[in-house]
C-alpha cells in the first residue's frame, strides 16, 4: 500500500491539471469581460480569425493552413507534412483539456501566424468556433 501512495499523488497531480473545454473557455471569457463587461464570445468572429490570412508567415498565413479548413477534420503541418489531429473537442477529446497546454500553443502559434500574442477575446472567440465546428 505504501508503494501506491506516490502513484496516487501522481494521479492527483495529473487530474488536477485537467479541465473541460467549457471551463477553459469560461476562463478566457472572464478575462475578456474585464475590458468589456458586455463581451460575449462569438463563433463567427472565431471562424474569421481561424481562416483569416494574416500574411505574417508566407508558409503559415492562417490557422487553417495547418489545422485544415474544418477543425473537426484535422490537417497537416505545412512545412513538415506531419498529420495534425482535429482541434475540435468533439472529434478529439484531448483538445482544450489542459489549460497550460492551451496557453502554450496560443502563445506559440499566435506568434507564428499573427506575429503577436492573441488577446483573451480572440482566444474565447476561437474556442467558441472550434467547439461549434464549421
Amino acid at each position: 500500500m505504501k508503494a501506491l501512495i506516490p502513484v496516487l499523488i501522481g494521479l492527483f497531480a495529473v487530474t488536477a491539471q485537467a479541465a473541460t473545454p467549457n471551463e477553459i473557455l469560461a476562463g478566457y471569457r472572464a478575462e475578456a469581460a474585464k475590458n468589456n463587461p458586455r463581451y460575449q464570445s462569438s463563433a463567427e468572429l472565431g471562424a474569421q480569425l481561424y481562416r483569416h490570412s494574416f500574411g505574417v508567415s508566407a508558409k503559415m498565413p492562417s490557422c487553417s493552413s495547418c489545422h485544415g479548413d474544418d477543425p473537426a477534420r484535422g490537417g497537416s503541418h505545412v512545412v513538415t507534412g506531419k498529420a495534425i489531429q482535429p482541434l475540435a473537442p468533439a472529434a478529439n477529446a484531448e483538445r482544450f483539456s489542459d489549460p497550460a497546454k492551451v496557453e502554450k500553443w496560443f502563445r506559440r502559434n499566435c506568434g507564428e501566424v499573427l506575429g503577436r500574442e492573441c488577446s483573451a477575446t480572440e482566444k474565447a472567440d476561437f474556442i467558441t468556433f472550434v467547439m461549434r465546428g464549421r
Binding site: 497537416s76 503541418h77 512545412v79 513538415t80 507534412g81 506531419k82 506559440r108
Partner: protein, 164 residues
Amino acid sequence: MNAAHLLAPLFSMFMVCTAQADDLRLPAGAPPAFQSECGACHLAFPPRLLVAEDWRRVMAGLDRHYGDNASLDEPTRRAIEAYLVENAGKPKKLGPSGTAAPGEAPRLTATAWFKRKHHEVPPAYWRHAEVRSPANCAACHKQAASGSYREREIVMPGGRRWQD
C-alpha cells in the same frame, strides 16, 4: 526477483545483437518533453540520425529552427539535448553532415547516410502534397512512429510499394 527481472538482460542482449538499420526505435530515457515538444510538429526523430555535435548545433538555435521559433525553457532544452547527445549516431556510419542553406543548422535528411539510403527516391516524391518534406518519415515509412523502417512497410505517394 521474478522471471521478468531475469529475462530482461538477456532480452536486451538479444536486441543489441539484432539491431538493424530498419530498427530506429527511440532509446529508453527520453524526457517527456521529447514527444510533446519535438514530436508536436514533426516525428520525434530517432537520435541516431545525427551525430552529437550536430544535435548540439540544432539545440543551440531553437529560436531559428528551420524557419520556426521552437524555443524551450532552459531546463527542458537541456534535458532534450542530453538525451539526443547521449544517443546520437556514430560519425563513421552517418558520414559528413549537411545543411540545406549556408548558416542553417545541420539536417538529419542531409547526412551522407540518409542520402545514400534514399538515392532511388524520385525527386518529385519529396515535393508530393502527401510528403512535403524529406523529414516527413511517416509519409512513406508507415510504421515510423513506432521506430520501424522495414522496406516491406514502405508505401510511396499514389500507393506504390517499394519493391513493385
